[in-house]
Amino acid sequence: MTVAPPDPHCRELAALLVAATDDEQAEALLRAHVATCHACTSAENALASLVRRYREAEQPPLAASLEQRLLAQLCGSPPR
């Protein structure tokens, strides 16, 4: 399976959306396009997979300086 970057047709569609004023019409246009465009279907599946992994990934710790600032602001003087 391959995922192509957005092809010229998809780019054209994106450009049309910028000018679209009717959201419902634009949405219908998009839905119809994605349903029949192999490049879009493959890319949407891959993006969904990447997003799922991103959601499941472990959160990095806060930067120490940010944590110290927040603790100082919120907790003030040290706990007793």
């Binding site: 399976m1 391959t2 995922v3 192509a4 970057p5 957005p6 998809c10 569609l13 994106a14 959306l17 910028v18 679209a20 959201d23 419902e24 634009a26 949405e27 998009l30 994605v34 493959s42 890319a43 949407e44 599946n45 891959a46 993006l47 997979s49 990447l50 997003v51 992994r53 991103y54 959601r55 499941e56 990934a57 959160q59 990095p60 710790p61 806060l62 120490a64 940010l66 944590e67 110290q68 600032r69 927040l70 603790l71 100082a72 602001q73 919120l74 907790c75 003030g76 003087s77 040290p78 706990p79 007793r80």
Partner: protein, 211 residues
């Protein structure tokens, strides 16, 4: 012995019930534990929503103050993490509305306002292979996300990352459901362009795993 808050041992409040009781007693140690335990995930959420580190810090600070002030109202129907999550979400949306009022309108055209943020993230291309998301790839995804204009990023974060329904996300942003869907499509197109090399690898990895 008196120590700095960031050097505090937070294991005393490992249990959520004990932590809640401590917060309701206004125990400063409980406040420290609350922040140390939940701030990393909530900061990432605030950053994804606001797109700016300084704004995310403001949102986080305001959210924790609000949470501590209203802890007596927390009924425990959802977990503490879910409750805090909702507070950050609401606080960030209010913050964005205020920002919109005092600055330029939320514009959907891509701009380079996030260049300073991009500079704080590593630029090395990660190896996108493998099922687990490497920290480098996570940062690449975040960089692409933060480069989106506010309107598109918010639609994507609320719907695809936070899992709100289309109706909930549209209501949170004060727009119609069709408008939300269009923004979501446009966010996908932008992310597909920004992440094209990685999506290719993801597709190959997924295909290999399923064959």
């Amino acid at each position: 012995m008196v120590g700095k808050p960031w050097e505090t041992d937070i294991s005393v409040y490992d249990d959520e019930g004990a932590l809640l009781a401590g917060l309701r007693r206004r125990d400063r140690l409980a406040c420290t534990c609350l922040l140390k335990r939940y701030a990393p995930a909530l900061y990432r959420l605030a950053l994804r929503l606001t797109g700016e580190p300084d704004d995310a810090e403001d949102v986080l600070q305001e959210s924790f103050i609000r949470a501590c002030d209203h802890i007596a109202e927390f009924e425990g129907r959802s977990g503490l993490a879910t409750w805090l999550h909702r507070i950050v979400l609401n606080t960030a949306l209010m913050h964005l509305r205020r920002r919109k009022d005092r600055q330029v309108p939320l514009d959907e055209s891509v701009d380079d306002d996030h260049s300073s943020l991009a500079e704080t993230l590593p630029s090395d291309l990660p190896d996108p292979g493998g099922a687990a998301l490497t920290s480098e790839l996570r940062e690449t995804v975040e960089r692409a996300l933060l480069a989106l204009p506010d309107t598109l990023r918010l639609a994507f974060v609320l719907r695809d990352l936070e899992g709100l329904s289309t109706r909930e996300a549209a209501a949170a942003l004060g727009i119609g459901e069709s408008a939300l869907k269009v923004r979501l499509h446009r966010a996908h197109l932008a992310l597909r362009a920004a992440l094209a090399p990685y999506l290719q690898e993801v597709a190959i990895t997924d295909a290999g795993r399923h064959s």
